[in-house]
């Protein structure tokens, strides 16, 4: 099933105390699922899933996007000037 590399930025990196993590991919794991795995590992991230956007391999994706072996998943907090509506 493989592994994904996860990158954290800004407040999420501060809360987790890391800028990078590796997540083992279970069957059908989505971007939101990857976030769930991280919450288990870093409980300070609890509740932030409603707050982040996800990117896979540097492209914004919906939370339901499937994650594959070798993907880079990024947790994107709201950027400084705008709202989530693009």
């Amino acid at each position: 099933m493989g592994t994904a590399r996860v990158r954290l930025f800004a407040r999420l990196a501060d809360l987790a105390g890391t800028r990078e993590a590796a997540v083992e991919l279970g069957e059908g794991l989505t971007a939101a699922g990857v976030f769930g795995v991280l919450v288990q590992r870093y409980p300070s991230l609890t509740g932030f899933d409603a707050f982040v956007r996800f990117a896979v391999n540097s492209e914004y994706v919906p939370a339901s996007h499937p994650v594959r072996d070798g993907d880079e998943v990024a947790l994107i907090p709201p950027v400084s000037g705008g709202s989530r509506a693009l």
Partner: protein, 142 residues
């Protein structure tokens, strides 16, 4: 087109030189500058974090959109990361076009799109505390 995320001081001459063309009669250059106050607080300095690989990719995408929409000639964008003091330049957006109105409008649109979509974040260090500035969305209580 030029898109950079860098820890070094930004270089307006280089950005303008990049967009200059013989068929472009106008160059608009926007500076984003670190301000000494925000939301009634005295700001001491800012710290910018970025996802550089994705930031340059998104800059490319929004520049392509804006170029097509306004029919401008060239675009260059630089954003700085790390610690910035009051008065330092955090963002440069340069646009060239045949005539001035397209250059102004495209530059304005680019700065707006940049602030919505490019994965770069600022932490405001103010008198008495610090906080990540996270757009219009209220974050959960940390």
């Amino acid at each position: 087109m030029l898109f950079e995320v860098t820890a070094d001081q930004l270089d307006p001459d280089r950005v303008v030189k990049h967009v200059r063309r013989d068929d472009a009669g106008a160059v608009a250059l926007f500076y984003g500058v670190v301000r000494d106050h925000n939301r009634g607080r005295k700001v001491m300095h800012l710290e910018y974090d970025a996802y550089p690989e994705m930031a340059t990719k998104v800059m490319h995408q929004i520049a392509a959109e804006v170029k097509e929409r306004f029919g401008v000639a060239e675009i260059a964008i630089q954003h700085r990361t790390g610690r910035l003091e009051i008065g330092e330049t955090s963002l440069l957006v340069a646009v060239s076009s045949a005539h001035r109105s397209e250059a102004f409008e495209a530059c304005h649109a680019l700065v707006d799109r940049f602030k919505e979509a490019v994965p770069i974040w600022k932490k405001e260090v103010f008198e008495g505390g610090e906080e990540w500035i996270e757009g219009d969305l209220s974050p959960p209580d940390a």
